[in-house]
Homo-oligomer: 555 residues x 2
């Protein structure tokens, strides 16, 4: 029973991209087939979070079917905002304000496909959340809400007919302050890439590590924090941070995280426009992470990591405290050399709030979207996470496939990433500068040169074995020097920094880089043949224009 | 001591591509530093095989330094060929004939860098072997040989001043008969690819499976065959085929083998000429292999597969009975889901002689050159196989890097392969044919169409997730249907067969295919930027010209 209901809700969670018309027809059909009481559904609704916020791409949906009830016109009861405040998450009856009307949504909450994230809004104004979860802005959802109408806000609490903004909770009010050098793509939720000059160091400082949030930053305390683990038989086990630190051997892994949208702007520029944030080369950073091995924790929790039933347990689902969710294959989670961690330290400091304090998953070699932050719950399951971020956003399709009619299930969720590289700086080096002279000597040169630097990285722990640099748009090639580093970890989870000096007389109008990993995978030359409408995993050769005249240049 | 001497010989084995001049200077230097007696070196010379035969690319080298000794002119002793025959591999003194002269090379044999393969030639004429191992054709080697001169062949055994060919052993005399449909690239050693029509079945019949030999086919019997395993501490353990079958659980794996030179001819055509056999699309085939897990055998032999010393054991070296050798990383050999086997059956039949009878290694997801045939010896070591096929031939370099001055150690030996695909047939399908009508209906079509079929494959067990087909040289794309199959194995070790029907009106002058694996790795569009002088791992988009007029066409 649980499984089929679970699947039903999973299907419902896919409504995000359906038209209103088909949404209505579908929810009507589903209701006829499977009338669910709140009591029946509450147990499995909880882990279902399908809230989405990616540049207006949306999901949390209200699929409860109903006959439309319009508020008739009895004399409207007026309610003070202070009274609403009393009906918050801890109250028996939970109220929300939408615009100037008050609703008691207590009985609806168990049916909310977006899960318990709705509790953030109760006892206050729901409008700012509906601005994030824009899926709510349709008639069906308003119709549901109207069923729960209890009265109008007292005009004394309104200014110009609205609740003053001071009285509306900002979902992002607890977001931390950020470093001014980050290049911001969106403020709420916060998304910002690392500046090219901060991509030059092998280890990215915590403050400059790129940030990719789908929602707000949860305000959590390490002291009362518990991570819940749900085993295949439904049993649950909890660990505090203290438990994790005392019961398990800590492990350090040097690991690069890369957003699947890194370099999306190059896809926009070189092929066609895509949906999603227009990241340049900085949605990637590298850090030393400290934590405990997930496989050790699962074994301690009672999961038999050697002889479990492979049909029953295929995926490890991660649930974040804000509403985000994703999953990875069980083999990745259990592999001795796969280094999947529950992390509490980043570069020797407690995990910063922007990077998942107090605990996050770290899934080396996989797209960063699987390294769930503010990790609250781990579920061993026969199915992937049903979240939007597993079932939709982080997938790639063919260049001819569009967003409207695409069969989302036809492509696998991105896990490992293809080989990638980028030029992070391009600068003239002259033998007339004492500093540059030293550098030129290292490369056996005495003439004017162009110094090129950058990163190369591949998914799956595949080592970078060669970086080819062209100073003339691909006509001729040189092999860059792969800079030495000291990485922790069983495989090559971290990027390789590289450098090369090319005589200035050989420099053409454009420098190009392409890398090769140990599986001899290569980057594609162009963008259009690998276009995908979400702009994921852009890895075409990185080209940077060069002007001979300039003295010192950076991208 | 063993280790440094070993390394010295390893370096010597690299001389193959050095000029004669640098070879002389280097061997002189080495001799001054490390005078080796035969007795000292015999223990570690054995596993060193550097014999090479790839279209004239050569290696077995004589690096024993010496002062040149010219045979003075005493009256030449004449020796009958029958007398030479008595000085074979089992004799105390071992002789060879070179042209018409007889040499007693007994004292040289321990120094032979090519190892014991030289024993094949003793008691007979060495010329046909030197035709294979052409590295011998230089003055230094002749000078060494002259030291061991014992007399001239009796003129009664010569015809026109030469040993008649009937009296010269053909190294390939025991090679088996082959299927006439194989497309032969070289006879001795035998190299032949699978014809396009035989690439259409998911499982390739044994008789049509491509053959890639570096030397001759050893004539072995299953009954007295033993596989030797050398553990890190030097201990040796032996298993007969019967031992393997009775002691270990048999395992079936469906696995595609691909030569690293597959599609090399496309690199020759689309970029520049490379060295090596000009394989088209058929140096790849798929079979179900039965054998036992190498990890089980190693564990039984006394190797602690869970807690071994990772500095001491990094590689598993495979030695073939003919002289071929290669190695794989220890993690691949021990991985539970890596499915490395010792194989004795192919598609339900005893392993054919051309495919390694009675025992071969199977290393799924890796280039076929690591799946060593006629497997005689397995050595756990801190270093890779020092064979030419590990240290040289099977590597890739940058498009600018040439064969003369390349630093072979700068590139890793190919293990996993990148994503690959090819069109194996292209044919018109007409609604006027009853047969085609059925097919067209499956794809919901009623008009003239072009049926395209082919394979897609990726290394490392990475599943093929999408195949893009363009009927107009990359202007527009369609997604091919990935045909269902039933494969044995822990990962996707076998190719994916695919098919698509494109309306004939959309067909341009060239069809193109490109595939995507589950790590979202892609194939490069063109060839020149990925040119490597050995022509390895050619994986540019496969393009097949199409002529609208034709009725039924195949590549």
């Amino acid at each position: 029973m649980k499984s089929s209901l679970h699947r039903l809700f999973a299907r419902r969670a896919e409504f995000g991209a359906l038209s209103t018309k088909s949404f209505r027809a579908y929810s009507h059909r589903q209701t006829l087939q499977t009338p669910l009481s709140g009591a029946q559904s509450i147990s499995f609704v909880k882990p279902l979070f399908s809230a989405v916020f990616i540049a207006g791409f949306v999901s949390a949906v209200w699929t409860h079917s109903h006959s439309t009830v319009h508020a008739e016109a009895p004399p409207a009861k007026t309610i003070r905002l202070a009274e609403v405040r009393k009906h918050g998450a801890n109250a028996t009856r939970r109220w929300v304000v939408k615009s100037t009307k008050v609703y008691d949504i207590t009985d609806w909450i168990p049916n909310h496909p977006g899960g318990e994230v709705i509790l953030r809004a109760v006892g206050g104004v729901i409008d700012p959340y509906w601005e994030i979860f824009t899926i709510h802005n349709k008639k069906d959802v308003y119709d549901i809400l109207e069923q729960y109408y209890v009265g109008d806000l007292d005009p004394r609490d309104l200014v110009d007919g609205r609740v003053p903004s001071d009285d509306i909770e900002d979902p992002f009010k607890n977001d931390p302050a950020r470093h001014p050098d980050l290049i911001v793509h969106s403020d709420r939720p916060f998304n910002a890439e690392t500046a090219p000059e901060d991509l030059k160091s092998y280890i990215t400082p915590n403050s400059n590590f790129y940030i990719r949030h789908h929602l707000w930053v949860p305000f959590l305390s390490q002291d009362d924090y518990k991570i819940q683990i749900e085993l295949p038989d439904g049993e649950e086990v909890e660990y505090s941070i203290k438990d994790l630190k005392s019961k398990f051997r800590s492990t350090k892994v040097t690991c690069t995280l890369q957003c699947s949208g890194n370099r999306r702007q190059h896809m926009n520029d070189e092929a066609r426009s895509t949906s999603g944030l227009p990241w340049e080369i900085g949605a990637i950073s590298n850090a030393v992470w400290t934590g405990v091995r997930l496989r050790d924790v699962l074994a301690d929790a009672g999961f038999d990591i050697d002889t479990f039933d492979e049909d029953q347990t295929k995926h490890v689902q991660f649930q974040g405290a804000e509403a985000y969710g994703a999953s990875i294959p069980i083999d990745k989670a259990l592999g001795k050399r796969e280094d999947v961690l529950l992390v509490y330290e980043m570069n020797g400091e407690p995990l910063p709030r922007d990077h998942g304090y107090p605990l996050r998953a770290l899934v080396p070699g996989h797209v960063a979207a699987r390294s769930v932050k503010w990790l609250k719950r781990i579920t061993l399951s026969d199915e992937e996470s049903q979240s939007q971020w597993q079932q939709r956003d982080y997938k790639c399709f063919g260049p001819n496939q569009g967003g409207q009619d695409v069969d989302w299930s036809s492509a696998p969720a991105i896990q490992e990433m293809p080989v990638q590289s980028a030029i992070t700086s391009l600068r003239n080096a002259s033998p007339r500068s004492a500093e540059d002279q030293k550098l030129l000597r290292v490369y056996g040169m005495e003439e004017d040169a162009v110094e090129v630097e950058g990163y190369a990285f591949a998914g799956g722990g595949r080592r970078i074995v060669r970086v080819d640099i062209s100073p003339d748009d691909g006509r001729t090639w040189h092999q860059a020097e792969l800079l030495p580093d000291e990485a922790h970890g069983s495989k090559s989870w971290a990027w390789t920094r590289w450098r090369w000096l090319v005589p200035k007389r050989l420099a053409g109008r454009q420098f190009v880089v392409k890398a090769v990993d140990e599986g001899y995978n290569v980057q594609p030359e162009s963008y259009e043949p690998h276009y995908n409408f979400r702009g994921n995993l852009t890895s075409g050769w990185h080209r940077v224009p060069y002007t001979k005249g300039r003295r010192d240049s950076k991208e």
